[in-house]
Amino acid sequence: MVRSASRRLSSFLIFSLFVFGLAFPYGVLLVKIGNLKIGNFAELFWALKNTAIQSVGAALLSLMVGFALSFGIPPLASRWRPWMTAGLFFPFFVPSLYIIALWMAHVSWMGVGNFIVMIAQGLIASGYVAVRLREVFESKLASYAIVAETLGSDRKLFFRKALGVVRPEMISLFFFVFVVTATSFAVPLVLGGSEGSNLEILIYEKIRISFAWEEALSISLVQLAVILLFSFLQKKYSGTPAGQQKHHSFFFVPWSQIPLLAYLGFFVAGFFWGLPGGIESVQRLPGVFPLFFESLGRSLLLGTGFALLVVLLLSAAVLQLKVKFFHQFLQGFVAPSTALIGFAFLFFPTSSDSLVFTKYLVAFFCLVFGSLYRWGIQNMIHDLNRQTLVAETLGAGSRTIFLRIVFPQVIDKIVLVSCVGGFWFVGDFALAKLIVGKEVLASLVVENLISSYRTEAGLILGLVMLVMAGGWFYLLKVLLSLSFQRILSRER
């Protein structure tokens, strides 16, 4: 009785911590700004229409391109698989500013409206979608593929008939890209021009140009409502439980590696294109190196703190496996726009650097935690709930179930997602610019170079930053996974 009461209390406290933490920026904005107001409905509908066109278009495009690219991903056993996966994730987790700066260094295509925003966002997300689709095929379609093959089916017929099985996952991916595009800022700002302003840009303009805070908050709430409505419309993620990932020849087409390599070349190799010019231009700025490396050390340290915070909080979320509404909340939660989160935290003036960095960590957490949760944990909930139930029938208590059944199966994914979160943090410049401001973080040094038309120097330092962050977080992932495995082996 006492144990179940304390368990209920701890569940309530963890749920409250998440709800309070994630809804905090909305609360601050509502209290500080006071009332809500929409001044110009025509403008709102126009931005809403642009958001819808860009988001639906990008989500559809990423599904189509991602589907095609997925066949070029090497089989599970291949040693190239992790490298290809990392390469395909690269455009999605690198801040859009670098991608845009990279494109702008070679092509001039600014201000072309919704169409180019849709193409850019769709292409940026395609690599991520390709990896996720391939994982879904390997876990849910492998056994059907064997049956189909024995019945004489070819790949084309199989996918025509079997795609229905993975429809919930495809809808979920569509929704994921939809949300990312609907809340994106940099791409529509730079590439969309005045024709492609979405809700996010409208919010930014209301704050920076008109100082209309009530309107900015009201538009942000409209944006939240649209996304929440969409999240309710999507089918439940796990239609049928996924099995173990298995390879089948239907899932890999060797010649499909050509478009995949072209995709990787477009995003990754482009960074190396301007290497000689970049090195030369950095050498012309002698003061930049010490400032950059000092900032990079700080960025990596803070990014590590962020990764550890995410490990802790994702583990806390998994601890509440059986609380259905808790996971529904996390699944549907969408953070306010980057600009609004930044401004919400600016309402708390801080004098010391360490407090500013703490504020930045919390704000970044509010901004990205929903995405990290949806990527890392959401699709495991169904399977783990079933196993928890089986363990209960065997008499296991909640501590044993967590430490021996749930945690060993999720910790690798939690660590991976957290380290990607840390990498994401190091590359962020938008929120950092609002909250931290000064050039004390590597991303801000890079952003300052790019925005002051020293693009080549900015890109080369951006590349150094991303490579070092990638290496560091890979090492951190290995270290954390090993440490957790050692801790868990003592529990057995």
Partner: protein, 211 residues
């Protein structure tokens, strides 16, 4: 005798109405009926996954319906076996007796008995992802029994096996239940499973039709 009383509840269009049902103290009771008759729902109620107000399950003077899933101390073999995928067969079995607070020393004779009776030693060191359906079924059976349950519940435990394996698995189950002298309730839609039953109960449309 274990007595089930007052199991009445509706799930949408489906209504279950079992005013009273007895389960033998020893040997296998088979609850059989066509698909959709409510057998699995009935089992879920016994396990404690479905709450039914007013339902009682009197077992040696104690009402198990008032206890949590863990406290009911049941041994359950699920239809898909549900072995923990990150463990070996042996680790699955170890988990079950450790969850009940039993030590390796306490269960050693029983473990030896299961290993011999079910031929587990040949495959229990392997990860469960690589063992066959029949091997999984035997691991699931040992896992359900090693924690000294009050009663063994089985949800269509042979449905994933081929005909030959089914016959031998039936025989293994019958002799295990007889040797361990425990009550067991098996849910099945296969009339062939009635061969090993000491008591038979037929269910249709959420009601017990024949005993």
């Amino acid at each position: 005798m274990a007595k089930i009383l007052n199991l009445k509840k509706s799930w949408g269009d489906f209504k279950m109405e079992i005013p009273e049902l007895e389960i033998l103290d020893e040997g296998l009771t088979v609850l059989w009926g066509p698909s959709g008759s409510g057998k699995s729902t009935f089992l879920n109620v016994l396990i404690g996954l479905e709450f039914v107000p007013g339902f009682q399950w009197i077992f040696h003077g104690e009402d198990l319906a008032k206890l949590s899933v863990q406290e009911r101390r049941l041994g359950v073999v699920f239809q898909s076996y549900d072995l923990f995928p990150h463990m070996t067969g042996l680790q699955n079995i170890e988990f079950a007796f450790q969850a009940r607070g039993l030590s390796q020393k306490e269960v050693a004779p029983k473990l030896h008995f299961f290993a011999e009776k079910l031929g587990l030693e040949k495959f229990w060191a392997r990860p469960v992802s690589v063992i066959s359906g029949g091997e999984k079924q035997r691991i699931a059976l040992a896992r359900a029994l090693v924690g000294e349950p009050r009663i063994l519940l089985l949800d269509e435990p042979f449905s994933a096996l081929d005909t030959e394996l089914r016959n031998s698995a039936r025989e293994v189950l019958r002799s295990l239940v007889a040797e361990l002298k425990i009550p067991a309730l098996m849910v099945s839609h296969d009339p062939a499973d009635l061969e090993i039953a000491r008591s038979k109960v037929f269910m249709e449309g959420g009601k017990i039709i024949d005993r």
